[in-house]
């Protein structure tokens, strides 16, 4: 399907080889063009633990529209690899829209479109001939409301992405089982659910459901994880668990988190970006944004004068 799935262990790679080769000509998401990181990884990778590392994302002059409404106005922003970047700002400032552009979910809304570029390392995800499906496999997303598939068991929810055409790498049941376990461990959920994997995912508590969704996202081994207010539907203890998880996940993924909660941004983010009315006002190390913001609007917002 694309370059990214090839990152796994050798045994699983046999099958998609030809498919990947076929795509090579028309898709930039191929082993050859995705080289640097994908190649290093599969060489360095031990076969069990996914030797993952996030990739940098660079937005340049990004504009997003809902029909005629101009929601994102010329944003340029660098997301450093393996860092957590928080997007803060009042409701309606466009922070959710912005992250939805990064995995091209924005265009799923009727009438919505974007201009500008988003580079994932050296590839423009809005470039010509880019496979949207491949982009979304490289850039995973966790939503505001936990949304496990209601008809699926806990196991099947995590395996869902692996069973998609793009996720099938040899597709052996053992592999899927291993990957599900690894993903659930990665999401800090394994100990809680290992004895009831066949029960429905929506039988879990809200916090567990959200971690299940995170497990589902990391199961397909993306490079970047977008989180759109992942804790806004959770209680404080569940929120704490997810925040701890984010801290662990950044060693392997680049994370962009939208949050309404400035304390949360302060707790989890290395970098914080403040948006207002579709524009990026300021971006910098989290500590500086909260203590010595250079823009007065940022200062007003983080000190609670509005928003």
């Amino acid at each position: 399907m694309n370059g990214i799935p090839r990152r796994s262990d050798q045994g699983e790679e046999a099958l998609p080889e030809t498919a990947a080769a076929e795509r090579q000509q028309n898709s930039p998401w191929t082993p050859s063009s995705a080289t640097p990181i994908a190649a290093t990884r599969s060489r360095a990778g031990d076969s069990r633990e996914a030797p993952s590392q996030g990739r940098a994302v660079v937005l340049a002059d990004l504009n997003a529209y809902y029909g005629k409404a101009h929601a994102i106005k010329g944003v340029g922003l660098d997301y450093a690899a393996n860092q957590v970047t928080a997007m803060i700002g009042p409701s309606g400032c466009g922070k959710s829209t912005l992250v939805r552009c990064i995995n091209r979910m924005h265009e799923e809304i009727p009438g919505a479109y974007t201009t500008g570029s988003i580079m994932l390392d050296d590839q423009d995800i809005y470039g010509e001939n880019v496979d949207v499906v491949a982009v979304r496999r490289a850039v995973g997303m966790v939503f505001q409301k936990p949304n496990p598939f209601p008809t699926m068991s806990i196991f099947d929810n995590v395996a869902a992405g692996l069973r998609l055409t793009g996720g099938r790498r040899g597709g052996k049941r053992e592999n899927i089982k291993d990957r599900v376990e690894r993903s659930l461990r990665g999401a800090g959920l394994w100990e809680e659910v290992k004895d009831r994997l066949s029960e429905p995912g929506i039988g879990l508590s809200g916090g567990q459901q959200q971690r299940l969704c995170i497990a589902r996202t990391i199961a397909v081994e993306p490079e970047v994880i977008l989180m759109d207010e992942p804790c806004s539907a959770l209680d404080p203890i569940a929120t704490l668990k997810v925040e701890e998880l984010i801290d662990e996940l950044k060693t392997r993924y680049t994370i962009v988190i939208v949050t309404h909660n400035m304390q949360q941004a302060a707790r989890v983010a290395d970098t914080t970006a403040f948006m207002l009315a579709g524009e990026l006002v300021e971006v910098g190390p989290t500590e500086r944004i909260f203590t010595k913001p250079s823009d007065s609007r940022t200062e007003d917002y983080v000190s609670g004068k509005f928003g």
């Binding site: 995995n103 979910m105 799923e108 009727p110 499906v133 491949a134 979304r136 496999r137 995973g140 997303m141 939503f143 409301k145 949304n147 496990p148 598939f149 209601p150 008809t151 699926m152 869902a160 992405g161 998609l164 055409t165 793009g166 996720g167 809680e192 029960e199 429905p200 929506i202 039988g203 879990l204 508590s205 809200g206 916090g207 567990q208 969704c213 589902r216 996202t217 397909v220 209680d235 203890i237 569940a238 668990k241």
Partner: protein, 334 residues
């Protein structure tokens, strides 16, 4: 005691309503109750009437023998309706087999795939199909579809001759197959319309979850849309089945009117409803009793189908809904 005092002394604070105004609510409730009960009474009356009128035939032939013995000779006044019952089941099953996949595909296309501008025109068009009178479908089936399909039907029958009933036989113009096809077209709008409504209720959350995992549009449909709407689609199909079982006029045109037990679906046959529609005019008293008995059988068949359908729909709905009900209990556990 205090409370009683306050409400009795209502003259001061609470405005009084006139007795007539206070009557409105109970009156409304009684009127609705009466209408609902009236409907139930009508069905019961209907059922009893059918039994009473069918009784002479049924007691003459025997109830089981009437339904499950194979010998229907209307002119000769031999009334054992098994061939007709089977004919009804075969044509309805064919209708579902052919119609439901197309109906679901149409619903999915309209709600998930087609450009937004085309959505409403297409919806209206599909719904309009429901407005075509069944007699028109019958005429079209008889004069156009049946003759055109005869060659194709024979070809298919020859290729599938190793399968009993489905394959083999000599294709007649009108046949079980043509009847099933016409019925499939007739149930399309209702199955499609209800499926479409059901599909529209699939939460955006689930669809986005699938897409964000890197699902293609078809995978998104398979992963998020179809499982969620399965129960509703099953219900829609059962409504379609109800229509197919009861359809008389169109089927009477295209099924051939040959009341022998089915050998091959490309041959002529007959069904309960079609027989009633075709024969009622010239029937004598005995024959009329037999036709009413056919009606009773049809009625019971529809009831059975409905109950079975409800059972399946309830089961698949439960599978979907039960877990969230348990959620509050588990939510303490983080």
């Amino acid at each position: 005691m205090e409370a009683g005092v306050i409400s009795r002394g209502g003259g001061s604070g609470i405005p009084k309503r006139s007795p007539r105004a206070r009557l409105a609510d109970p009156a409304f409730r009684w009127a609705l109750t009466a209408m609902a009960l009236g409907l139930v009474a009508l069905i019961v009356y209907f059922f009893i009437l059918l039994i009473v009128k069918a009784e002479p035939t049924l007691s003459h032939v025997g109830v089981l023998s009437f339904a499950f013995s194979n010998n229907w000779d209307f002119g000769g006044e031999i009334f054992k309706a098994w061939p007709l019952l089977v004919g009804t089941l075969v044509t309805s099953a064919l209708a579902l087999l052919i119609g439901v996949p197309i109906a679901i595909a149409t619903a999915l296309f309209i709600s998930e795939l087609c450009p937004r501008r085309m959505r409403i025109p297409l919806t209206v068009l599909v719904d309009l199909t429901a407005a075509v009178p069944s007699v028109v479908f019958g005429l079209w089936g008889f004069f156009f579809l049946a003759p055109k399909l005869q060659g194709t039907a024979q070809w298919i029958a020859d290729r599938l001759s190793f399968i009993p009933i489905i394959g083999g036989g000599h294709a007649a113009g009108p046949s079980y197959f043509v009847a099933g096809l016409v019925l499939a077209i007739m149930i399309l709008p209702i199955v499609s319309a209800i499926s479409r409504e059901v599909i529209a209720t699939v939460p955006l959350d689930h669809k986005e979850a699938a897409l964000a995992l890197g699902a293609t549009r078809w995978e998104m449909i398979r992963m998020a849309v179809l499982p969620y709407s399965r129960a509703g689609i099953a219900g829609a199909s059962m409504l379609g089945l109800g229509r197919a079982i009861g359809e008389a006029i169109a089927v009477s045109y295209v099924i051939g009117g040959n009341a022998t037990l089915i050998h091959h679906i490309v041959e002529q046959g007959d069904s309960l409803a079609a027989t009633i529609a075709r024969s009622f005019n010239e029937a004598n008293a005995n024959q009329r009793g037999a036709l009413i008995a056919c009606g009773l059988l049809l009625f019971v068949l529809t009831l059975v189908v409905n109950f079975v359908a409800r059972y399946f729909v309830a089961r698949s709905t439960r599978a979907l809904r039960a877990p969230p009900a348990a959620e509050p209990v588990a939510s303490g556990a983080v």
